[in-house]
């Protein structure tokens, strides 16, 4: 359970996040949706204190995050960065083992965990000795997710994890992650600016505009009852695309 209340972050007087309230239920996959610059990344980073809020609280299972040692907090939360952010001087295995090593896991345990994650993320075992610049974009993204999952966190924060991928790889990874989320019993907050991705993956979608949540609900609720003009506008694109594809399929069959 993540409870966010009155969260504010200002840069040079301008609010990037402006009194944001949000509750994320246990084992929920919540998608934070909004256009570029609306404050999604800033919100996500305030949850694991990569950024310190100017006001408001974040509570994790009832505990104020501000009272937890930030380093310990981050080791307990998986984070997938916008643009992946793998360590270029470390191999795939070393990247995946980053957090377990910081937590001083036994070597064999760490090695076993790396293999387990390679399998889970469907990466060939032989890839573990490669450096990040020897991987494709999709492979790098998989390693990024594996690294976030390594220390068995209960909470995953993902910042546009599939943003830079080709449509096929992207679709594949979206489905795989949705599966994993259920299988591992995770609580996930996934940031995107892509409404289709949000509708396909989310248990609930929170739509952000200018640093606030303007509408929150299940994909079905949003599609059937957008309420806000901005939300309706966002839904227009996937709706139009779906209708055209359906029409094509009907004409064909």
């Amino acid at each position: 359970m993540i409870q966010i209340e009155g969260l504010v972050k200002r840069y040079n007087g301008a609010a990037a996040v402006d009194g944001l309230d949000l509750q994320i239920h246990p084992q929920e996959l919540l998608v934070l949706l909004g256009e570029s610059g609306c404050g999604k990344t800033t919100t996500l980073k305030m949850i694991n204190r990569l950024i310190e809020p100017d006001a408001g609280t974040v509570r994790l299972d009832g505990v104020d995050a501000a009272t937890i040692n930030p380093v310990q907090l981050r080791r307990g939360i998986g984070y997938v960065f916008q643009g992946v952010g793998l360590f270029p001087h470390w191999t795939v295995a070393q990247n995946i083992a980053a957090t377990p090593r910081l937590m001083k896991w036994e070597k064999p345990e760490t090695a076993a965990r790396v293999e387990e994650l390679l399998e889970l993320m469907r990466l060939p075992r032989a890839m573990q000795d490669r450096l990040p610049n020897e991987l494709s974009g999709g492979q790098r993204q998989r390693v990024g997710v594996a690294r976030a999952l390594a220390a068995r966190p209960k909470v995953m924060l993902m910042d546009e994890p599939f943003g830079a991928l080709d449509p096929i790889t992207r679709d594949e990874l979206q489905q795989e992650y949705a599966d994993l989320h259920v299988r591992l019993g995770l609580t996930s907050v996934l940031v995107t600016h892509d409404m289709t991705e949000a509708l396909l993956m989310a248990d609930r979608v929170a739509v952000m505009q200018r640093g606030r949540i303007i509408r929150i609900g299940t994909p079905r609720e949003l599609v059937n009852d957008p309420r806000e003009a901005y939300v309706a506008h966002l839904i227009e694109t996937p709706r139009r695309q779906t209708i055209r594809v359906e029409a094509l399929m009907r004409a064909d069959g």
Binding site: L50, R75, Y79, F81, F87, P88, H89, T99, M103
Partner: protein, 530 residues
């Protein structure tokens, strides 16, 4: 050919010592430089104001010419010594103002800029997204620095260390001038004695060391970055070998100071062979009772400054030099007056004791062939003036620009047919071959004997006297045993003997030790005949 091999053999005798000392100061300075520049870079990279201050200071140090920096450290150390003595109530300064310490300070300061700059650039060049990812996976600040920022900045930092290494090896050649032996000894004495082989040996050895350090550091960095085992396997032992070469018994011995029974005696020498020979002679005299160390190749006023503060115990200087550069006197006086006034002045101002003249002068003189002297009956410069309009004179181009030359011309009314500026080595050949009739020479130059020349008396006292005098530091002068051992040298060396000794080293390729031993024999013989 034989002479070359001979010359090289003699030069190579000192190579292990000089190379080892050179490596020692280089490695120690670079090590200290890294220990200062790295933390400073890491600490200031996020503090713009401190960063500007640190790079500013390092840049200013860099603009000071190397030689000036070396020379400036000396008075600073002397000052610190005085302060420490006053604060701690010591009778002796705890810091050595010449040799290893000032060299390492200067080289370390010099190495800072490239290393500091590259540390800052390397750290600033790490992608901020990577740093944030490091924090995101749960690294502490320190872990981010050592596991992510430093490894990623390493190639740039190592490039800075490589630049510093090359500079330091080069600058270390100058340390000879402040009493630290180095490969620069070859270059400086080579320049002094026009021994091209010596210069080449110094330059090539230093260049080889610089290239080796640079390449090995590069290889090591590549080995680490590319996880290349063979690169590391070559670079690590190579670097270790160089470092070890600096810590040989030769370089460490003075630190261990094995000879505790006998008191130390530090003997200085300036940058020319006569000075080396005399230092060796003094060292031989003291050997029986003292643990003697020679500091040869000292810059012109370094020896004096070191003597003043008891860093040196004794060395030979020349009355004319002290008169002009230390006492700042410009009027010419007769030799005995200069000696008397100088002795008094040194005692009063710096507590330095002039034990007396060794018995010869190394002054400027006009020299002619023996036949010329006999033919025209020349004994003095006044004699020469009468016939100068039939003669040509050769000299160092520098001498024709000096006040001494103008005074000579005006006082004696010299009017030469021709004035030929010429390198001093060529001068002797030219007069011997009859191409010129008169040359300027240093009176103790062995070539005066070798080419059978006659020096003319300066009967109107225009040229300043340059009597060789034995100077003792205040402390050494208070040591009765030391003064007793050196007393026999006073008035014991005549000009012909000094010329011969110089000739042995300058022309015949004998070692300084051989020449000093020969001089000693002469002194003993003279004693018996007295």
């Amino acid at each position: 050919m034989n002479a070359w091999i001979n010359n090289l053999e003699v030069l190579l005798e000192r190579w292990p010592t000089l190379a080892s000392e050179h490596v020692l100061v280089t490695v120690v300075s670079l090590g200290l430089g890294v220990l200062i520049a790295l933390p400073l870079g890491i600490w200031t990279v996020r503090r713009p104001r401190w960063r500007a201050a640190a790079t500013g200071v390092a840049s200013v140090v860099q603009t000071v010419p190397a030689l000036a920096l070396l020379a400036l450290i000396l008075p600073v150390l002397v000052g610190i010594n005085a302060l420490l003595m006053w604060l701690l109530g010591l009778t002796d300064g705890p810091l050595r103002a010449i040799g290893f310490l000032p060299t390492v300070i200067a080289l370390t300061l010099y190495s800072l800029l490239p290393m500091l700059r590259n540390t800052l650039a390397g750290l600033a060049g790490v992608d901020p997204a990577t740093v944030e990812a490091a924090r995101g996976v749960g690294m502490t600040r320190r872990q981010v620095l050592w596991r992510v920022q430093m490894p990623l900045a390493l190639p740039v930092i190592v490039a800075g260390v490589r630049t510093a290494a090359v500079w330091t090896v080069g600058m270390a050649t100058l340390s000879t001038l402040i009493g630290q032996p180095s490969l620069g000894d070859y270059i400086i004495t080579g320049l002094q004695t026009r021994n091209t082989l010596s210069i080449l040996l110094g330059v090539v050895s230093a260049a080889a060391l610089a290239i080796a350090l640079d390449q090995l550091l590069g290889l090591m960095e590549a080995g680490v970055a590319q996880r290349s085992a063979w690169r590391k396997a070559v670079a690590a032992p190579g670097l270790a070998l160089i470092v070890l070469a600096g810590f040989t018994p030769i370089t460490i011995a003075p630190w261990l100071d094995a000879d505790r029974d006998r008191p130390d005696a530090e003997i200085g020498a300036k940058t020319f062979n006569e000075s080396y020979i005399l230092a060796h002679l003094i060292a031989d005299e003291l050997q029986s009772d003292f643990d003697v160390h020679q500091r040869v190749g000292l810059g012109s006023t370094v020896a004096y400054d070191a003597l003043r503060v008891n860093e040196l115990d004794a060395y030979v200087d020349y009355t004319g030099t002290i008169w002009a550069t230390i006492m700042k006197r410009d009027q010419i006086a007769p030799a005995d007056v200069v000696l008397r006034e100088m002795t008094q002045w040194l005692k009063e101002h710096d507590g330095i004791v002039c034990l007396g003249s060794l018995g010869f002068q190394n002054a400027y003189a006009l020299a002619v062939r023996k036949e010329t002297a006999e033919q025209h009956g020349l004994k003095t410069i006044s004699d020469l003036a009468k016939v100068s309009d039939q003669m040509s004179i050769a000299s160092d181009p520098e001498f024709f620009g000096r006040a001494e030359w103008r005074d000579l011309v005006s006082t004696y009314g010299l009017d030469f047919q021709q004035k030929v500026p010429m390198q001093s080595t060529l001068m002797y050949e030219a007069i011997a071959a009859g191409e010129v009739d008169v040359i300027t020479a240093y009176t103790s130059d062995g070539r005066i004997t070798a080419y059978d020349l006659v020096t003319l008396t300066d009967d109107r006292h225009v040229l300043p006297p340059y009597e060789a005098v034995l100077l003792l530091s205040p402390e050494a002068a208070a040591n009765p045993k030391l003064t007793a051992l050196l007393q026999p040298l006073i008035g014991a060396i005549d000009i012909d003997e000094m010329r011969r000794a110089n000739l042995m080293v300058d022309i015949d390729g004998d070692t300084v030790a051989t020449a000093a031993a020969w001089l000693r024999d002469q002194i003993d013989k003279n004693k018996k005949t007295d």
